[in-house]
């Protein structure tokens, strides 16, 4: 099944990456000048990306991607910190190699697999998707990953498998908020209905911008569900369970009136305390109006059918 997306962002909405990089260069040059005086020499690394010439997903929209500096420095990772800057810094302490993932529950073949073994059986593609946070900002991210459905099918789900539960890593020794048992129920967990999980848009991502996933962005393995708010796209997955009944999920349990199980991007259903009608597209400069949020984050053509008989206000 090939479903093409036709939505595009007008180029005027985003800072031209060239302009963005040039501006960065000027600032870096200025900083380097000041640094020279103080004896600090900036290190310029020449890292080659891990994957080159990845095939492009047929779902990839023709969008200008958000500069990687922004994606890598603007992340919510509450296990580490509530502050986006600190979580980027602290996440570097998470050891992600070796990594294994348990697949269990209502499947013929359950087991625990090394991530490398999983990757050996999958074809990686680049997927340029919109990413919309419940905090009313958005990005366009070139993920490297494969369809979750391809992995689940290998485990042969039973007909009783109606939901999928995902669990993040539990490492209180490096994750301060887990250690303090703060706020959410740890480890972080999320869930999807089986048809959502099997949908070809739903990814397990292992990288972005052709390179290994930065730790703060959910390395080594994260979920990407582009038509749902970002908190559904759980990071650092260690367990995938197929279940008969809907699992409880971290944010839903924390504030059931505010964060629903479905969490589909929907401009017509505001969060109880703020509007979801518009979003700040990161990388767009000052004096650029917000972008009007689209139903299902612009993926309605592909996913609206999953919810056709449902009241989206009730099942938010």
């Amino acid at each position: 099944m090939i479903i093409k997306t036709k939505k595009t962002i007008p180029a005027s909405e985003i800072t031209d990456p060239y302009v963005f990089k040039e501006r960065r260069k000027i600032i870096k040059a200025l900083l380097a000048l000041t640094a020279m005086g103080s004896g600090i020499v900036p290190v310029l690394a020449d890292n080659k990306p891990r994957w080159t010439n990845l095939p492009e997903s047929s779902f990839s929209a023709d969008l200008m991607t958000t500069p990687s500096e922004i994606i890598e420095n603007y992340t919510n990772y509450y296990e580490f910190s509530y502050n986006k800057h600190d979580s980027t810094k602290l996440a570097q302490q998470l050891a992600t190699d070796p990594w294994s993932v348990e697949i269990s529950g209502e499947v013929e073949k359950s087991g625990t697999y090394f991530l490398e073994d999983i990757l050996r059986q999958q074809t990686l593609q680049e997927h340029i998707y919109r990413f919309r946070c419940v905090e009313a900002w958005s990005m366009v991210i070139p993920w490297v990953g494969f369809a979750l459905g391809d992995l689940l099918r290998k485990a042969q789900p039973l007909s009783t498998a109606k939901f999928v539960k995902f669990t993040s890593v539990y490492r209180p020794e490096v994750m301060p908020r887990q250690k303090q048992n703060n706020m959410l129920e740890w480890p972080y967990s999320e869930g999807l209905r089986i048809d959502e999980a099997m949908h070809p848009l739903t990814l397990l991502a292992v990288g972005m911008y052709g390179d290994t996933m930065p730790k703060q962005n959910g390395a080594p393995l994260r979920l990407v569900v582009p038509w749902k708010y970002g908190f559904k796209s759980i990071k650092a997955i260690v367990k995938i369970e197929l279940l008969k009944k809907a699992p409880t999920t971290s944010w839903n349990k924390f504030a059931p009136g505010e964060y629903g199980f479905y969490a589909n991007v929907n401009p017509n259903v505001p969060h109880p305390r703020w509007s979801q009608n518009s979003e700040r597209l990161l990388g767009s400069g000052f004096f650029t109006p917000r972008r009007e949020t689209e139903l299902f984050n612009g993926y309605g053509e592909q996913v609206a059918g999953l919810y056709k008989d449902m009241n989206l206000r009730h099942f938010f």
């Binding site: 706020m183 703020w274 509007s275 009608n277």
Partner: protein, 205 residues
């Protein structure tokens, strides 16, 4: 007298520093991935900080017996209004670029913004009643009106609380500051009432 004026000038200049600092961060591109929101938050934070400073003046005056601090209260009050106005303008112009239909929906659907508007309207009313001739004209009503500053502080803190997802440490800090400052004033007025009652002979209290 000269010394006093120098102090006042120094404080006046210091009140502009947060803005200067912000402009510098904008020029140096120090505001991170969501610069629009960063500007917004910075200006909101500073209006709340100035509001706390306004509320701190009377307690400090009571404790130190240093008269003439009312001048500073007025100055901080006007800077509260100044930063709050920039905060509002950042929302309307920098973030929304005056696209009114989107702004209207955003405000209607975002209850946290209502608290912000309430706080701003109070601060606006207090700012326009600043001139000395207005104070004279209003007489006792002026003091009554300006007590609403505590309500503005409460609304501003609600505006802060109401937009967060659960990490409430920062607004809790401001809430604590304002409770302490208000509590101090309540205690002092209670003490004054008790003392004046005790000064009367028994039987006439």
């Amino acid at each position: 007298m000269v010394k006093f004026n120098k102090l006042k000038l120094g404080i006046f200049i210091a009140c502009w520093l947060p803005l200067l600092w912000l402009l510098l961060d904008i020029i140096l591109d120090n505001l991170g991935g969501n610069a629009v929101q960063a500007v917004h938050i910075r200006l909101g934070d500073w209006s709340l900080r100035f509001l706390c400073m306004v509320l701190a003046i009377t307690p400090i005056q009571t404790m130190t017996n240093w008269r003439g601090m009312a001048e500073y209260r007025r100055m901080f009050g006007l800077f509260t209004f100044f930063y709050a106005t920039l905060h509002l303008l950042a929302y309307l112009v920098l973030d929304h670029f005056l696209v009114w239909p989107i702004i209207a929906t955003d405000i209607l659907e975002s209850s946290y913004i209502w608290f912000g508007i309430a706080a701003y309207l109070i601060v606006l009313a207090l700012a326009v009643t600043t001139p000395k001739w207005v104070i004279k004209l209003m007489g006792k009503d002026w003091k009554k009106l300006h007590r609403f500053i505590y309500l503005a502080a409460g609304a501003a803190i609600m505006h802060y609380f109401w937009q967060l997802k659960g990490n409430l440490a920062e607004p809790l800090f401001y809430l604590l500051v304002i409770i302490l400052l208000l509590g101090f004033r309540v205690l002092v007025s209670f003490k004054n009432r008790v003392v004046s009652r005790l000064m009367l002979p028994k039987g006439r209290r």
